[in-house]
Structure formats: C-alpha cells, structure tokens
C-alpha cells in the first residue's frame, strides 16, 4: 500500500493567515490576553521598581513567576486556532482546568530541564577550562 501523501501546504497563504490571526479575531484576542498582559506589565514594573530601589538587579528576575497567568491564554488561543472561534465563544476570560494544569506542568518541566541542561553545560565548560593547561 502506498504511504499517505501530505496535502498541499500553501506557505505564503498560511504565513499570512497566521501573522494576521490575532487581528482577525481581535476581540477574542483582547478578551483572553487583557488579564495576562496587564499582570505581566504590572509584574515587570513592580519588580523593576523594587530592583531599582533596593539596587539588586536579580529581583527583576522574580517577575518571571507571572508566567502561569499566560497559561489560560495559551489554551484558549490554541482551541481557537485548532477548533475555531466557536469553541471559545462562551469561554470565560479566566479559566483554569485540566488542560491548563497539564500545560503548566509541562512548562515547569521544560523550564527545569532547560535550567538543568544549562547548569550541566556551564559546569562542563568550567571543568574543561580548569583542566586545560595554560588557561
């Protein structure tokens, strides 16, 4: 039996559609992104302000912990992209269910894995630099 053939993928048309997707469904984009955008801006500003006042730049890094507020937006927008605008028409601006929990866990897992890989790489580089004569 012949293997299945991939259907045509119109690159330019897909790129155009994708690029304009937030504008095509702008009201939905606004509905799902408003809370996360405001929360992210507020976190950036507050932690930036604290970092400046206490003169400790690393405090600004704490603003990263606002990332979970993006999860409901990610899930809603994926539903919209995959199933269509009707699937999120009645969805609340903010909802956190099983899908959101899974995506959050995945995000944490990826973050931990990335930090672990970076730490291992940094450790190896340090070790190699130390053991190389003449360094």
């Amino acid at each position: 039996m012949d293997p299945p053939v991939a259907p045509d993928f119109h690159f330019k048309a897909s790129l155009k559609d994708t690029f304009w997707s937030p504008f095509t469904h702008f009201s939905l984009f606004l509905r799902f992104s408003s809370i996360p955008i405001v929360a992210t801006i507020a976190a950036d500003f507050s932690f930036g302000l604290i970092a400046t006042l206490v003169k400790q730049p690393f405090v600004f890094g704490l603003a990263f912990f606002v990332v979970p507020v993006m999860i409901p937006f990610n899930v809603a927008w994926t539903r919209l992209s995959v199933i269509g605008p009707g699937s999120v028409a009645r969805r609340a601006m903010w909802s956190f269910g099983k899908s959101e929990r899974n995506v959050l866990l995945l995000s944490i897992g990826v973050l931990v894995a990335m930090i672990a890989c970076a730490s291992i790489a940094a450790g190896l580089i340090k070790l190699l630099t130390k053991s190389t004569p003449g360094q």
Binding site: M1, P3, P4, V5, A6, P7, F9, F11, S14, L15, D17, T18, F19, S21, P22, F29, S33, P36, I37, T40, I41, D44, F45, G48, L49, A51, T52, M70, F73, N74, V75, W77, T78, R79, S81, V82, I83, S99, N102, V103, L106, S107, V110
Partner: protein, 131 residues
C-alpha cells in the same frame, strides 16, 4: 541561535497542543513531517519579524530614556525603571510578546489542520486513531 530557539519552541508548542488532547489530535508524523520544514520556516519568519519589532521598540524607548534621564540630570541606574519611556517600552514589549505567542500557537495548529485534511481526503484511518 535563532534557528535553535525556533526549533525548540516549535517542539515545545507541539507537545503543548498535544497535551490538550483535542478532538482526534494525534498528529500523524508520516503526513506532517513534509510540512515540518515549512512550519519551522514560518516560526523563523514570524520570530524574526517580532524580534525586529521588539528591537525597534527597545531602540526608540532606550534613546528616549537616555534623553529623558540626561535632561533631568539623573544617572540611568537610579532612574531606569522610573521613567515613562521605560514603562511604555516595557508595556509595548509585553503586548508584542502576546501577539507573537498567538501567532506561534496558530502555526502549531497548522500541523493539526494538515492531519485533519489528510484524514478527510481519505488517508488510512489507522494513521489517526481518535483520542
């Protein structure tokens, strides 16, 4: 660097979408692998566009910040997060980040659509075991 980032981001988003277990979402790699390069290119193009936009925002507001801090006679280190220019620059960057996130998610859904279309076009049912 950008290519590696785009590749990692794409793999991450594929997993993210797969986790949500939508109707019949079981990407058939036999069918989608040919489209992967094009999906990756889309990530690359859109990523570059947004990174350029963010850089423009940073340059514009960075210059404004420099001018404003020089004007009020404060060293940037003490005024860096207190100027209107920085606040506006950061806010615009955050908004751009969300637009970028929305487009990235839309790209991933393309893989799903390709698989669905193939199913509708009569590809073997076994390739798409329903969730």
């Amino acid at each position: 660097m950008l290519a590696v980032y785009a590749l990692l981001r794409m793999l991450f988003l594929f997993t993210e979408v797969a986790l949500q277990r939508y109707r019949g979402f079981r990407p058939c790699w036999e069918l989608t692998r040919k489209a992967l390069l094009k999906l990756f290119s889309m990530f690359f193009v859109i990523g570059v566009v947004y990174w350029v936009l963010m850089a423009i925002v940073d340059v514009i507001f960075g210059n404004l910040l420099e001018v404003s801090t020089t004007a009020i006679g404060e060293p940037p280190s003490t005024a860096i997060n207190l100027t209107l220019a920085t606040m506006l620059g950061n806010a615009l960057n955050v908004v751009l980040r969300f637009f970028n996130a929305a487009t990235n998610l839309a790209i991933v859904s393309s893989a799903y659509k390709i698989a669905r279309k193939a199913q509708e076009d009569g590809a073997p049912e076994t390739a798409f075991s329903e969730a």
